[in-house]
């Protein structure tokens, strides 16, 4: 999943903005999945790009689950998309991926679920306030099912080809807890996100920069991308520009393993970012091992 996300950013990176080469390597087999956390319009774009990139560049068979119909898709990708209406339908469709109709001729190598929070809200039983205990259990069930399904499909892929990588899972989630509204309290955590963190070993956080620089950028919005979690082992940052796609992405790259001026600048950038957003919990910022600044043209979203 991080290899696919990295490839997404690398693919749409302008060569003039490319400062360092990005290494795309498959994740270890024990890594379950990546959770993209942030505004759902942006995360949906990231997931769609991941699906397209995986299918076209990596030759993967992708299964994309979302409640919202996607209006225009290339014919070759339409069969990759499924639109379960409820969390029960989603659970059954994911649980059915092991059946022969879904593993022939090739089993899925990438499972994507868009807007987990939308599916999980079904489990509140009509309650629209606070967090319902059933929602936590449902989040765990869905996450565990994704992990278990990916583990099974990995075995199938390895049996059919010794060179195939593991089955990957990427999901998106937009938290209801806003650290700024909660006064920046470190204890203001989302209990559903805590549950999801148990099962997803990598978190990709999309964080909008609301500082002066972003405002001065005009129509473009400035976004920060952080990779964190148990599945991240080395620090790195990304620089790329993406002018040829409806979503325009621009980020600043510094490789964490080399003590270069670029790396120094990115560390200063991190400190500056923190000062711009003092409500962001310090432990959250310090635990991040990958930073990218992203400009997004919202004429697409």
């Amino acid at each position: 999943m991080t290899d696919i996300l990295t490839l997404v950013f690398k693919t749409f990176m302008s060569q003039t903005d490319l400062k360092k080469d990005l290494t795309v390597s498959p994740p270890p087999p024990t890594t379950c999945g990546a959770l993209v956390v942030g505004d759902h319009s942006v995360s949906r774009s990231v997931l769609l790009l991941a699906a397209v990139t995986a299918a076209s560049q990596m030759g993967m068979r992708v299964m994309f689950f979302t409640q919202t119909q996607i209006q225009s898709l290339p014919a070759s990708l339409q069969k990759c998309f499924s639109y379960p209406r409820t969390v029960e339908e989603l659970l059954l469709q994911i649980a059915s991926l092991h059946e022969s109709t879904n593993t022939s001729p090739t089993p899925p190598s990438l499972i994507i679920v868009d807007r987990l929070e939308s599916f999980l809200s079904d489990s509140r039983g009509g309650s629209h306030s606070g967090f319902h205990p059933g929602e936590q259990s449902c989040a765990a069930h869905l996450s565990a099912l994704l992990c278990d399904t990916a583990a099974f499909l990995t075995q199938v892929l390895e049996q059919r080809s010794s060179t195939s990588g593991p089955c990957r899972v990427i999901a998106s989630f937009q938290s209801e807890v806003d650290p700024e509204q909660a006064g920046g309290e470190p204890s203001a955590t989302d209990p559903i996100l805590d549950i999801l963190d148990r099962y997803f070993q990598v978190r990709c956080t999309l964080d909008q920069d609301r500082g002066y620089e972003a405002v001065a950028a005009g129509l473009q919005q400035l976004w920060h991308i952080y990779l964190s979690g148990r599945g991240i082992t080395e620090a790195s940052c990304l620089t790329f520009s993406w002018p040829c796609f409806p979503v325009l992405l621009t980020a600043t790259l510094a490789r964490g393993s080399r003590r270069t001026a670029i790396q120094k600048d990115s560390r200063q950038l991190v400190r500056e970012d923190y000062s711009l957003r003092p409500s962001l919990p310090l432990r959250t910022l310090m635990s991040h091992t990958c930073v990218a600044r992203v400009c997004i043209d919202h004429s697409f979203v």
Partner: protein
């Protein structure tokens, strides 16, 4: 807390499996370690093991799952590769309170697997899908 067992718990299961294969019993020191690592649910899980309450379901596709008969007679479907149980104890103690690694059902499944005393049962692929998704008829 992650959904995979910590290294100490993994090693404990390996030790239990090895010792049980050699002596057909679990020595006191490993039982004490089990209680230390997993807390009160360890004894309850061992009761379930004694009652042969764990069944390994398999389907033609090769997919597997554990089905554990709880003390109340209710069946709980658990996954083989990560921790989850639909029982109230898992939802409250593990997920909400973060006070335990596992519930007794998941622990019993791991113990039965280590001891080789799991019942075996075959189901169809469609039935397996319903069980995994929680949509199977009770």
């Amino acid at each position: 807390m992650p959904s995979l067992l910590p290294a100490v718990a993994e090693q404990l299961f390996r030790d239990i499996q090895k010792t049980y294969q050699e002596t057909s019993q679990i020595p006191d020191d490993l039982l004490i370690a089990l209680k230390f690592v997993f807390g009160p649910c360890a004894l309850q899980a061992l009761d379930l093991v004694d009652q042969r309450s764990v069944t390994c379901l398999s389907s033609p596709s090769g997919r597997k799952a554990f089905q554990v008969m709880g003390g109340s007679g209710r069946l709980y479907t658990c996954f083989v590769s990560c921790h989850y149980c639909p029982c109230p104890a898992f939802a409250y103690t593990v997920l909400r309170r973060n006070e335990g690694l596992l519930c007794k059902h998941v622990l019993a499944a791991y113990l039965c697997q280590a001891l080789g005393v799991t019942q075996e049962e075959s189901v169809s692929d469609q039935q397996m899908s319903k069980l995994l998704s929680g949509t199977a008829a009770p």
